[in-house]
């Protein structure tokens, strides 16, 4: 066991008995995120997989105070909680908004942009399972090209994933990071770092989803790691405009041994109707971003 596993806070804030699906990437991410954030945290989230994970009234397996809100409203809900706490001189409490890609890339973008522009003191977490998974795997603007969803059931998603990280960086917030539950220590470290920073912090979690992506539930970590190895998920953080790779992505950038995306794509049923052209386009899209990140990493040195 690597020694840095011991630095992870022992206390569990997500007890057994969540209503998340078997093999859910979010449940791993949420467990480690809350360990990093600890007790004095208020979480707010919309109707989404996390809402399901939190269970059915009057029971919940989650040991941090949390508030449901509506789909478009997650960041505004956090803004309100932060403003209320500020008015009551309770600013030591960390306010965290968790929403999926639908509630972030699509419906929640206005409230999030507003909150970020205002410099609201909170952490916004987009756990990205690349579709409306809670409602049955419909397409979102975060769904990658070539993926089957229940609203792209024959032709597959025709467009690339929206580059939401660029949008968040354009808000010039103090911290933007990406992570994955496949590397829980990377995830934990980023939440610890984000907790110490004031202002709007944005963390994107690439979140494998067995039912939505159609792979065996035992393979969540493997799929998550393959996403990193192929460059579909790039682990990095941008603190005050300074870009740096982290973890496995840093190693890949240094060694230049990124895998072709086909290794990731072929393991998931959602890509079974992907055309060769789409595969090539996806590879080109990944390569373009990868080169851009490498350039930025070099510039930041």
């Amino acid at each position: 066991m690597p020694h840095n596993l011991f630095k992870i806070h022992e206390k569990e804030y997500v007890l057994p008995g969540t209503r998340a699906c078997q093999g859910c990437g979010l449940s791993i991410a949420y467990r480690f995120a809350l360990k990093a954030l600890r007790e004095d945290t208020i979480v707010t989230f919309p109707a989404c997989c996390l809402c399901v994970l939190h269970g059915l009234y009057p029971l919940t397996p989650v040991l941090v105070p949390s508030v449901n809100s509506t789909f478009a409203a997650t960041a505004a809900s956090a803004s309100g909680i932060a403003a209320g706490l500020a008015a009551l001189n309770r600013t030591e409490t960390t306010v965290v908004a968790f929403a999926g890609d639908g509630g972030t890339f699509d419906m929640g973008i206005q409230a999030l942009s507003g909150a970020a522009e205002r410099g609201t003191d909170f952490i916004y977490v987009a756990y990205d399972n690349e579709g409306y998974m809670n409602t049955g795997t419909q397409r979102s603007s975060a769904t990658p090209m070539g993926a089957l969803t229940t609203t792209t059931p024959v032709l597959t998603k025709q467009q690339h994933k929206k580059d939401f990280l660029k949008i968040m960086e354009a808000h010039q917030i103090p911290y933007v990071a990406t992570t994955t539950p496949a590397y829980p220590i990377d995830l934990y470290d980023k939440f610890v770092r984000a907790k110490r920073i004031k202002g709007t912090r944005f963390i994107h979690i690439h979140t494998p989803c067995p039912p939505g992506w159609q792979y065996p539930t035992k393979d969540t970590i493997r799929i998550g790691r393959l996403a990193v190895d192929t460059g579909l998920c790039v682990l990095f953080e941008v603190e005050n405009g300074k870009f740096r790779f982290t973890g496995r992505s840093r190693t890949l950038a240094e060694k230049g041994n990124k895998l072709p995306v086909v290794h990731y794509v072929e393991k998931q049923g959602r890509f079974k109707k992907m055309s060769i052209e789409q595969l090539n386009q996806l590879q080109a899209w990944v390569d373009d971003r990868w080169e851009e990140y490498r350039r930025r990493a070099a510039e930041s040195k």
């Binding site: 269970g55 989650v62 449901n68 403003a83 209320g84 009551l88 206005q110 409230a111």
Partner: protein, 402 residues
């Protein structure tokens, strides 16, 4: 110590919010509410009011910020109009469902399409079923007083209150308004105590998913299902009139102004014809009633102050003596009639009140309604009623309907 100043309705609302020591304000500008958002910014930035002011990017977020801040225990205020209110609609339900004592001013304005920036009450009437208490004000003094009352009502009932006043007619019209002393308001309005305290010592998930049926908690105690929670909101609003009347009474004792609780009356004791409506139109009707009396027609007015919860019992008492009832409404339930008309008819069912009721839709999109037009409308109604007509379809006052 009190001082009377000549101020607009928007100024009156802003002064009231300051007197209530609101802690979080979230607002997005929209005509005719904008001035209210601006004055509150002035108060906060100049240090006259210690509050967090969240200048949100839209009304959906304005109400959401109020929900979040109220949830953690801050007294919150917002205001909007027309399409801004409609944009909030989802969150209005959420605020009421969360049983949060949010107070919001709705500066009434017509709803697009097509665009109108001018006054009617279609915006707030369209929010009738959101679980909010709705109070309609006659004049700027009532706006100031009602905002103060609204917090005490909301924080007693644990339901949000919408204080409605007519755009431009009141929002931008200057009237003398007495501002109560801050100490007296603090005495009248104790600090807000949230129904649930959110902190690490007692971690809760608020507003989680409910199943249709009740479910036991970890100790085996049966907890509410969705339907029980909905019933509790309905029950709270059913019982709210008692609170609203009590708040009105103690406000009158403390400050010497009685706005009538659920409804108010004007010369109804011996009235044969009763005019009725909400907000400034009802105030205009009092001028019309006085004019009718000068012509020998015994007219009076019932002003519906609180529209939800609906003052059904009070209305039966107030309208009992009338031989004819003429309504003026600044909204329409398309495909039927004015909402107030339907509600009054429902309240009268089985009460023995059989007087003919003639509804008028008036003043939509800011079309001016003059007292003499109300006088003519009432005389025309009475003529038709005296001629034995009973199937009185809603009349669109001062509107080309050919």
């Amino acid at each position: 110590m009190t001082d009377a100043r000549i101020i607009t309705g928007n100024q009156a609302a802003a002064v009231a919010a300051r007197l209530c020591d609101v802690q979080v304000i979230a607002a997005y500008p929209i005509t005719p509410q904008s001035q209210l958002a601006e004055i509150l910014s002035q108060f906060v930035e100049s240090g006259q009011l210690r509050a967090e002011y969240v200048r949100v990017e839209g009304e959906h977020s304005a109400m959401t910020v109020c929900i979040g801040a109220s949830t953690v225990g801050a007294r919150v205020f917002t205001a909007t109009s027309a399409n801004g209110l409609l944009y909030m609609h989802e969150q209005l339900h959420w605020a009421a469902g969360s049983r949060l004592p949010i107070v919001m001013c709705c500066v009434n304005r017509g709803v697009g399409a097509p665009w109108s920036i001018f006054n009617d009450q279609q915006d707030s009437l369209a929010q009738r079923d959101t679980g909010w208490i709705q109070i309609y004000c006659r004049d700027n003094q009532e706006i100031l007083d009602t905002v103060i009352q609204a917090y005490r009502i909301a924080e007693t009932v644990y339901a949000p209150v919408m204080v409605c006043y007519d755009g431009f007619v009141l929002s931008h019209t200057m009237m003398p308004v007495v501002s109560p002393a801050p100490a007296a308001v603090r005495k009248f309005l104790p600090p807000y105590r949230p129904h649930t305290i959110l902190d690490a010592a007692n971690p809760l998930t608020l507003n989680s998913v409910l199943l249709p049926n009740r479910r036991p908690d970890a100790e085996g105690t049966l907890c509410d299902g969705y339907m029980e929670m909905r019933w509790k909101l309905q029950n709270a609003l059913d019982r709210a009139p008692e609170v609203i009347r009590e708040v009105n009474r103690s406000f009158a004792e403390a400050f010497g102004r009685d706005h009538g609780g659920m409804l108010w009356t004007h010369r109804t004791e011996d009235a044969e014809v009763i005019l009725s409506g909400m907000g400034s139109l009802a105030a205009e009707a009092t001028v019309a009633a006085d004019a009718l009396r000068e012509e020998g027609i015994r007219a009076g007015v019932v002003g519906i102050r609180v529209y939800r919860p609906f003052p059904a019992k009070e209305a039966v008492e107030a309208f009992r003596g009338a031989k004819a009832i003429v309504l003026f409404e600044k909204s329409i339930s398309y495909g039927y009639e004015g909402g107030l008309c339907s509600d009054l008819k429902a309240a009268f069912y089985g009460s023995g009140i059989l007087a003919p009721i003639h509804d008028h839709v008036a003043g939509l999109g800011g079309r001016d309604v003059k007292a003499r037009e109300l006088v003519e409308a009432v005389k025309s109604s009475l003529a038709r009623i005296q001629a034995g007509e009973r199937d009185l379809k809603t009349t669109w006052l001062n509107c080309a309907t050919e």
